[in-house]
């Protein structure tokens, strides 16, 4: 299996002023293979979110290299990072962060819209197929504000898959859901991971769910334990 993600000696420091710096990540090495479902666990403040932002190309490491699908990102300009992020990585957040002005299908179409060059009919067909795949066929054209938390998170998962990314980063996707709904959302992630061979890196505090992943990566004090 090819590596979808390779992190090599990732360090991240924040400037606190007066030349003082605080290092949050202390040399992280990690690789994810295609089709893996990996849980990223660790206590609050351990550096999970910072690591996820760096993997998602939303932030740059202070040192070390991030390699996505074999492409080293260190020297890429912002515009190239944005393009790579749009095509290779999907995001699912704890709060779904869907755009309230749009319907479920339109939210799923959004990554294709911003990528440009996709025909309207093709975008619509793909969005509807993804909505069907996450079990929301009757709610395709509903405004997302009229949907339940579980349904909104399913729409967010469908949106993350819109560009057919190799890697989906899920930041506590079940954190705001009750246990039954959370279980349903996790099963959806498991099914998509199995069917599409899409790599998932999922931050979670739910150790029961983490145990059902292929692998657990535990981050403690900015290091992989």
């Amino acid at each position: 299996m090819a590596d979808v993600l390779v992190l090599d000696s990732i360090r991240k420091s924040y400037n606190l002023g007066n030349e003082a710096e605080s290092e949050v990540l202390h040399g992280i090495d990690l690789s994810l293979k295609a089709g893996e479902l990996v849980a990223l666990t660790g206590p609050s403040g351990s550096g999970k979110s910072t690591l996820l932002n760096i993997i998602g190309l939303l932030d740059r490491p202070s040192s070390g290299t991030v390699c996505i699908n074999g492409q080293i990102t260190a020297n890429l300009p912002d515009s190239a990072l944005t393009a790579l992020r749009g095509h290779a990585i999907g995001f699912v957040f704890q709060s779904h962060y869907l755009i309230s002005a749009f319907t479920a299908a339109e939210n799923v179409m959004m990554p294709m819209l911003v990528d440009r060059g996709h025909r309207d009919a093709a975008m619509r067909t793909r969005a509807e197929a993804l909505i069907d795949d996450v079990g929301l066929t009757p709610w395709r054209d509903n405004r997302v504000t009229n949907m339940s938390g579980g349904q909104q998170q399913r729409v967010a998962i469908a949106r993350a898959l819109a560009m057919d990314p190799t890697l989906v980063l899920a930041d506590e996707p079940t954190g705001n859901l009750d246990s039954v709904t959370a279980d349903g959302v996790f099963e959806l992630i498991q099914r998509i991971n199995a069917e599409r061979a899409t790599t998932f890196l999922m931050v979670t505090h739910n150790m029961a769910l983490a145990a059902r992943c292929h692998r657990i990566v535990d981050v403690v004090d900015g290091r992989i334990a």
Binding site: N53, T82, A83, Y97, I99, S100, R159
Partner: protein, 396 residues
Amino acid sequence: MRFLADGPMQSAFILTGIAIGVGVIVFMSAMLAGLQSNFIKRVLTAQPHIQLTTPDEIARPLRAMPALVEAATVQRPAQRVLSIDQWQSMQRSLAARDDVATVAPTASGSALAGRGDANRSITLTGMEPDFYFRIVRIPDYLVLGSTRLESDDILIGTDLAKDLGAALGDKINVSTAAGNARVFTVKGIFDLGNKGANQRSTFVALRAAQSLLNLPGGVTTIDITVHDIYAAETIARDIGSRLPIKADSWITTNAQFFTAVKAQQSTNTLIRLFVGLSVAFGIAAVLIVSVIQRSKDIGILRAMGTKRRQILGVFLIQGGALGFLGSLAGSALGAGALFLWHRSARQADGSELFPLLLETSLFATAAAVATLTGIIAAIAPALRAARLDPVEAIRG
């Protein structure tokens, strides 16, 4: 557009603000254009755009010896009524100019009009109706009778008719300082909308005036209209420099009026500028609030691969759309208000205060300027949105 529709109350408030601003601009522009056009029409249909007269007579003292210095007081001579030299050739050359519309020679001077025991001093103007009435539209101001003048017919103003107790068909005796006198028949009575003009102005056939004023075959003035009324002063100067004649444009003879028109234009421009600025700041304020409210959406869009310039474009389009939609509502509002004001505001004589001038170009300009203002006003909020760090935006 969906972002705008998603905050209906906020969008409605700013659209109302823009509509009121654009409405004020449309209302003021159309009303002032109408008022100005009405004033200019009234002024320029009762007088020529350029009037050519003989140069002032000046005294030239004879000097006995070149080296002799004399302390002399040179008295300004009285100005006689003189004919313009070679006026026929001047008329032909002036009529051939591209910038000149009409040329009409006139013979005018002071006279005394009497009927029974009543006498009034008048300005007697002899003219050729075919040319002169194209310059001073006496037929438009006629309240009684006709403007078809025979050699013994005269047109008088309403106030002179009242002073002399004269009606249509009555005889009036007109005498001049030269000792000539003639009896005319009142053929028409006009109202120029000015008491002084209605008391003094009278019009007769050119030959009748020439004989009364002792100007056989001569004229005292050549009246001209030009195609571009605002170029009248330049044309007058050009004519004055080419011909041995004094040329005065309506801009010089109505300096106060022209200054008032200019002042009105400047005031209107300033008011439009300030209204436009307040609209622009309103749009900017609403969009800045929108950027703050939607910072998470912007962060997500950035995470999904949206480029900075795409975010910039979204907010610039929002600004332009607000300006354009507001201008449509504002144009309707301004036009409606103007229509109501036009119906209710009347002059003392009951005629309209200003003509209703609602030109398509006004609405097109309002829409274009409002859209552009919206886009410019959106620049700062759009830049702020485009520069948002997606991590910070998502974290909130």
